[in-house]
């Protein structure tokens, strides 16, 4: 080992130790300390989210409303045939997902729930993740919960999955050896390159990201983070994501839903 290599190894070790200390001190965020990504945005972007005639996410919500009323599949049923008016039947639903599905023995997120209705009730083909249709329907359903507070079900059967999600949040991974908590618990409000690090509360999904120039689901965001950490991203719909979504929702308990939100 030459001198430079030793210095590198030492500083890497020192970095690892300092990170461990930070990680050890990481505690659950106090409710009063919590902030939505909205609070970190410029006034212009906030205005974009607040005004429904300016918010581009509303384009998907309108699409979703059309899909809600359109008959599909061999059963020839529309969402509206069972759930009638989404304004009442879907109010607050997005605020309590992912929820436990007894038949599958594990939590399902809203996207999976929609696709389950498609395959079982409507007997139609399922929508692909991040397809315009699935984003539109989840945005439309999510919109009905805007302003409702995030309230994950207090279901005993969800406990192990929340724990698994929390473990994934705390787990270091990828070539950069970072955990979600390193940024979102310990260093929120600081900058990562030019962007402010938010607290990772998933209150506005699916949301319109200016960088994406389109709507995206929470799983797209999670993949983004994993790729940024140079970790292996899971496939869309993987149970690991659903566990993590579930943990993030319990972490954001009591915060208002903003769907469809706008983020930079």
């Amino acid at each position: 080992m030459n001198g430079a290599a030793i210095t590198r190894a030492l500083s890497a070790g020192a970095l690892a130790i300092s990170f461990t200390i930070i990680a050890a001190s990481a505690a659950e965020m106090a409710p009063g300390e919590r902030k939505s990504g909205y609070d970190f945005m410029t006034r212009d972007t906030q205005g974009m989210q607040d005004d429904d005639t300016v918010n581009p996410g509303m384009l998907w919500v309108l699409d979703g409303e059309a899909l809600w009323n359109r008959k599909a599949g061999t059963a020839g049923k529309a969402c509206a045939d069972c759930h009638v008016d989404a304004r009442t039947s879907m109010k607050g639903v997005a605020a309590r997902y992912p929820a436990f599905d007894a038949a599958r023995g594990r939590p399902l997120n809203l996207e999976q729930r929609v696709n389950l209705c498609r395959s079982e009730r409507q007997q139609a083909s399922v929508f692909r993740y991040e397809s315009r249709e699935l984003l539109a329907l989840t945005a439309f359903i999510g919109r009905q919960s805007r302003g409702a507070v995030v309230e994950p079900p207090s279901d005993e059967r969800l406990k192990p999955f929340i724990a698994a999600g929390r473990e994934m949040f705390m787990q270091r991974q990828g070539q950069l050896n970072l955990s979600c908590a390193n940024c979102h618990d310990d260093n929120w409000s600081k900058k990562l390159a030019g962007a402010v690090i938010p607290q990772a509360h998933p209150t506005g999904y699916p949301l319109y990201r200016l960088e994406w120039q389109g709507l995206g689901s929470l799983q797209r965001r999670l993949r983004n983070c994993l790729v940024g950490m140079r970790a292996n991203a899971y496939d869309f719909g993987a149970p690991e994501y659903v566990d993590l979504e579930l943990y993030l929702m319990t972490r954001a308990r009591g915060m208002p839903v903003e769907t469809p939100a706008v983020r930079p």
Partner: protein, 106 residues
């Protein structure tokens, strides 16, 4: 799929300055990007937007590749008479969309 979000005040007093907001759903593909296999992605943008008030053109805009997806165009006009405000977007690959809104002027 859903096209445009239009916001025109339903009623106004004669002589009022009113704000018109339009949000159009479009990918606005610049033509400068390449796919993962290296092939150029052809340009697909809105090139032109026209607004007319009871058949008279009141606003026109040319759009270019640097404009983001789902272009939002807002402008002001004077409410002169009751009637119809029409919008027309045209673009690449024969793209053409229209929308309209009614306004009552007292």
């Amino acid at each position: 799929m859903a096209a445009a979000l239009i916001n025109v005040p339903k009623r106004a007093k004669r002589g009022d300055v009113i704000e018109i907001k339009t949000l159009m759903s479009h990918i606005m593909e610049t033509g400068f990007r390449h796919s993962t296999t290296g092939e150029p992605i052809p340009r697909d943008i809105i090139t032109n937007f026209v607004c007319s008030y009871n058949g008279v053109e009141i606003f026109r805009a040319d759009l270019y590749p640097a404009i983001a997806a789902n272009p939002f165009i807002t402008f002001f006009t004077v409410a002169t008479e009751s009637g119809k405000i029409e919008f027309k977007w045209t673009g690449d690959n024969g793209y053409s969309e229209t929308a309209s809104a009614a306004i009552a002027v007292e």
